[in-house]
C-alpha cells in the first residue's frame, strides 16, 4: 500500500501545475469562456505537444499508456485551474470509448489523431426523460444499408459544438429503459439530419442540444453492447472528475483560509473567530475526505470485480458530491459579499463543484446505486 506519486507522476504534476499557473490566471480564463469556442485551440495544441492528450491512450496507437493515476494527476490540476478545454469529453470519455470498444480500424484511424490534437470527440447520452440513468434511451437507431440511421433527441452534450465526432447512445432493440439493446455510435458533427443548438453552461463550459433525424452512424463496440461500455467508461470519467473536484476544493479551502486571515472586521482578522475556525476545519476535513475517496476510486477503477469497481465509483461520487457542496457553499459564505461577485474566482469554483455533482449522476443517484449493488 502506497499513496505517493512515482517520479514520473510527480514530473507530470509539476508540468501541469506550471501550465495552469502560466496560462490560467482568472483573467485569461474569463476571456476563454467568453470566446467563440469557449476554450483555446492554442492550449489544446500545447496539451498535445506536452503529451497530455496521449497520456491515457495505448502506446500502439500513438498514446503514452498512462493509467488512472496519471489522469487523476492531470485532472486535479485542471480542477485547480478551472481548465475549460474539452479534456474530459474528448480524451477521457471519447478516448475511453475508442480504447474500450473501438474496432482495430477505428483505433488505428482515430486514436493517433486524438493523441495529436487533430480530432475531438463528445459524448451524447442524456435525454429529457432519462435523468441520470444511462440506460434510459429513447433515441433509435435503425439499420440502413451497411450502416445505421439514428433519430431522436440528446440533451446537454458537453463540447459538442467543437467536436469532430460525437459518440451517441441509441436503441437498436428493447424497451426504452432496458439495459439490453443499447448501442453506441460514432456520428460526424457535420452529418446531414443533425441539428445542434449550442449554449454556455453555468460553470463556464459549452454544451448543445442535438436533434437527430436519420443521422448516419457507425457502430462503436458491439451492437447491443452499449450499456456495458458506458458503465466502464463513465466509471473512468467519474474517477477523473473526482480528481478535478479535489483540485477545485483545495483551491477554495486555501483561498478562504487566506481571506479570513487578511479580512479585518471588529478590529481583528476574521480568522480569530472560533465559529469560523471550526467551519474552516470542517471544510478542511471535507477536502481530506474527498481526496481519500479520489485516491480510492482511481486505484480501484481497474479492479477486476465489476461490483467492487461500481461500488468504488458510486461511493466516491457520493463523497465528492457532499464535500463539494459543503466546501463550495461555505467558501461563498465566508467571503461575505465578495463571495457573491463574479469578479472573484470563488464563485466560479463553487459553480463548477455544483455542476460536478450533477455530472454522471448526483449524490442521491449514486447512493441509491450503491445501496442496490
Amino acid at each position: 500500500m502506497d499513496f505517493s506519486l512515482s517520479e514520473e507522476q510527480q514530473l507530470l504534476k509539476d508540468s501541469v501545475q506550471r501550465f495552469v499557473r502560466d496560462e490560467y490566471v482568472l483573467e485569461s480564463r474569463r476571456k476563454l469562456v467568453a470566446s467563440d469556442t469557449g476554450y483555446s485551440e492554442d492550449n489544446w495544441a500545447k496539451m498535445a505537444e506536452l503529451g497530455w492528450l496521449a497520456m491515457p491512450l495505448p502506446e500502439e496507437f500513438g498514446g503514452i499508456g498512462g493509467g488512472a493515476v496519471e489522469t487523476m494527476v492531470l485532472m486535479e490540476e485542471f480542477g485547480r485551474g478551472l481548465v475549460v478545454e474539452p479534456y474530459m469529453s474528448s480524451i477521457v470519455i471519447g478516448g475511453g470509448f475508442l480504447v474500450a470498444g473501438g474496432s482495430k480500424e477505428q483505433k488505428t484511424e482515430l486514436l493517433p489523431k486524438l493523441a495529436a490534437g487533430e480530432l475531438k470527440l463528445a459524448f451524447a447520452y442524456a435525454e429529457r426523460q432519462s435523468r441520470f440513468d444511462l440506460n434510459d434511451v429513447e433515441c433509435k437507431a435503425e439499420k440502413s444499408g451497411d450502416g445505421y440511421s439514428i433519430s431522436g433527441h440528446k440533451g446537454v452534450v458537453f463540447h459538442a459544438a467543437t467536436a469532430d465526432k460525437i459518440v451517441v447512445s441509441a436503441r437498436t432493440s428493447g424497451g426504452s429503459r432496458d439495459a439490453a439493446g443499447i448501442t453506441l455510435f460514432l456520428i460526424d458533427n457535420n452529418s446531414s439530419g443533425l441539428t445542434r443548438r449550442d449554449y454556455p453552461t453555468v460553470d463556464g463550459l459549452r454544451a448543445s442540444e442535438l436533434e437527430m433525424d436519420g443521422v448516419a452512424g457507425t457502430v462503436l463496440g458491439k451492437v447491443g453492447g452499449g450499456a456495458a461500455l458506458m458503465d466502464e467508461v463513465v466509471g473512468q470519467a467519474i474517477a477523473a472528475i473526482c480528481a478535478e473536484a479535489v483540485g477545485c476544493m483545495d483551491v477554495l479551502q486555501e483561498t478562504t483560509n487566506e481571506y479570513l486571515k487578511t479580512r479585518v472586521q471588529f478590529g481583528v482578522p476574521l480568522s480569530k473567530f472560533q465559529v469560523l475556525q471550526h467551519r474552516m476545519v470542517d471544510m478542511f476535513m471535507e477536502c481530506e475526505q474527498a481526496r481519500s475517496m479520489c485516491y480510492m476510486v482511481n486505484l480501484k477503477i481497474a479492479d477486476e470485480d465489476p461490483t467492487e469497481r461500481a461500488k468504488a465509483v458510486s461511493a466516491a461520487k457520493v463523497q465528492i458530491g457532499n464535500s463539494g457542496r459543503y466546501v463550495g457553499q461555505q467558501s461563498v459564505q465566508l467571503h461575505g459579499g465578495m463571495g457573491m461577485t463574479d469578479e472573484l474566482h470563488v464563485g466560479h469554483y463553487f459553480k463548477r463543484l455544483t455542476m460536478i455533482d450533477t455530472m454522471f449522476g448526483n449524490k442521491d443517484h449514486h447512493l441509491k446505486r450503491y445501496a442496490d449493488l
Binding site: F3, S271, H278, V281, M285, S292, M293, M296, L299, V318
Partner: protein, 393 residues
C-alpha cells in the same frame, strides 16, 4: 500509488485470523459480537492469550516485547482483532503509560512496571481530569508536595475509567505554581492500594459503571515513582495523548456496521426487511460510504511516524461515525429500544429476551457512545488544534 496488500500482508492476515480462530472461545466472541458486558477476567484472559503469542504489545520496542511490523501489518492486526470480535485491549497500561515509561522512565521503572503490563497482572488507569480541569487540563490542581523521599498527594481526579479495577494509576499532579500552568506539572505513578485513596463510582447515562471519582488525601508516593523530571510532566502527557488518539477505528466501525446490517435484515418495515426500505437503505449506504472514506483516510495516514493533525481529524470523523452507527442501530430496533433490563446485558441472562435478542444493547450503547466526542480531547478541542496547527488560524 497502489492499494494492494502485498503477498506477505495477506499471509500475515491469514496468520492472525488463524490465531483468533484457535484462541478466542466462542462464548467470549459472542459477548463481544452482541455488545454484552465484559468482565475484567474476560479482558485479562484475552490479553494473556495475545501475550503468549508475543502480540500483546506489538508497537513496543522489540527488546521490550514488541514486534517489528510494517505499518500495514499493525493496521491489519488491529483490524483483524476487531473484525474477529476479540475483546478490546485495555489501553491504559499497554498503549498509554507503557510508551511513557519506556520513553522517559528510568531503567528501574522499566524493569519494575513493564512486565506487569505485559502479562496483565497490573491493571492501570489514567488520572488526568479533575472536576475543574477537563478540556483545560493544564489548570489541574491535585497537589504533590515533596517531603523527604516521598510526595504527599492531595486532590481529586474524576472520570477515571475502570479505576475500580486498577492496581495503579498514572497521574498528572501539580508540583509548582510558578510560571505557566503547564510548567508546574509532574507525572506520577501511584499504587492504588496506598492509604488515602478512595474510589467512588460515577454511573453514566447508559446505567453502567465505567468511570469514577478518585480522591487523594495525604497519599504518600515514593519519589522513585516520578517519571522523568519534576515539572516536566506536561511533555510526557502530550506525548501520550498522541498515542491515545492514533488508534485505528476502522475495524470497530466495520463491526458496528455489520451488527447494524444484521439487525436491519431482521427488522420488518412495510412487510419487508428494514434493510430493503429505500429510506433506511439509503441511510445505510450513506453510512457505508462515509466509513469507506474514513478507511481510506486512515490508510493514507498509515505509517506516518508523527500523527499530529491527522490524529485530530481521524478522531473527529471516526467518533462521529461511531455515534452515527449507534444512532442508526437504535433507530433500527424501533420500539424495542425502550425496554431496559440491566441484566439482559450480561452474558448468561437466561430469561427470554424482551423483543428481539439483539435489541437490548442498542439504547445503552447509543447513550454510552455520546462519550466518544468528549473524551480523549473533545471534538471541539480537536478542531481548535487543527485550526491552529494546520490552518494557521
Amino acid at each position: 500509488m497502489d492499494i494492494q496488500f502485498r503477498d506477505g500482508d495477506l499471509a500475515f492476515q491469514a496468520e492472525v485470523r488463524q490465531f483468533i480462530g484457535e484462541n478466542l472461545p466462542a462464548d467470549l466472541r459472542d459477548k463481544v459480537q452482541h455488545g454484552l458486558h465484559l468482565d475484567k477476567e474476560d479482558y485479562v484472559f484475552w490479553q494473556r492469550k495475545l501475550n503468549e503469542r508475543g502480540w500483546f504489545a506489538p508497537h513496543w520496542p522489540v527488546e521490550l516485547g514488541g514486534v517489528e511490523w510494517r505499518p500495514t501489518q499493525h493496521y491489519i492486526f488491529q483490524n483483524e482483532l476487531v473484525e474477529g470480535y476479540c475483546p478490546p485491549v485495555m489501553p491504559f497500561g499497554v498503549r498509554m503509560v507503557a510508551p511513557v515509561i519506556f520513553t522517559y522512565g528510568s531503567a528501574e521503572q522499566k524493569q519494575r512496571f513493564l512486565p506487569g503490563i505485559l502479562d496483565s497482572t497490573a491493571w492501570w488507569c489514567q488520572g488526568y481530569s479533575e472536576p475543574g480541569s477537563g478540556s483545560d487540563l493544564a489548570s489541574l490542581q491535585t497537589k504533590a508536595v515533596r517531603e523527604g523521599d516521598h510526595y504527599i498527594v492531595n486532590g481529586t481526579k474524576t472520570w477515571t475509567t475502570l479505576a475500580q479495577f486498577s492496581d495503579w494509576i498514572f497521574c498528572l499532579v501539580r508540583t509548582s505554581n510558578q510560571g505557566k500552568p503547564q510548567e508546574g506539572i509532574s507525572f506520577l505513578l501511584i499504587d492504588m492500594k496506598s492509604p488515602g485513596i478512595e474510589v467512588t463510582p460515577i454511573i453514566t447515562i447508559d446505567g453502567s459503571h465505567e468511570v469514577n471519582s478518585v480522591f487523594f488525601t495525604d497519599v504518600r508516593v515514593p519519589v522513585e515513582n516520578l517519571i522523568g523530571e519534576e515539572n516536566d510532566g506536561w511533555t510526557y502527557a502530550k506525548f501520550l495523548l498522541l498515542f491515545e488518539r492514533s488508534n485505528s477505528l476502522t475495524g470497530g466501525l466495520k463491526q458496528q456496521l455489520h451488527r447494524l446490517r444484521t439487525i436491519a435484515d431482521q427488522e420488518r418495515a412495510n412487510g419487508a426487511a428494514l434493510s430493503a426500505d429505500p429510506g433506511f437503505a439509503a441511510q445505510l449506504a450513506d453510512y457505508e460510504v462515509q466509513l469507506r472514506t474514513y478507511e481510506f483516510l486512515e490508510l493514507r495516514t498509515l505509517g506516518n511516524p508523527n500523527p499530529g493533525a491527522e490524529a485530530s481529524y481521524l478522531k473527529i470523523i471516526g467518533t462521529d461515525l461511531q455515534q452515527l452507527a449507534s444512532e442508526l442501530t437504535l433507530r433500527a430496533v424501533a420500539h424495542y429500544g425502550n425496554p431496559y433490563i440491566r441484566d439482559a446485558l450480561v452474558h448468561g441472562y437466561n430469561q427470554p429476551a424482551v423483543g428481539p435478542d439483539y435489541a437490548a444493547p442498542a439504547a445503552p450503547q447509543y447513550f454510552n457512545y455520546r462519550k466518544t466526542a468528549i473524551y480523549a480531547g473533545s471534538n471541539e478541542i480537536q478542531r481548535n488544534i487543527l485550526s491552529k496547527a494546520v490552518l494557521g488560524m
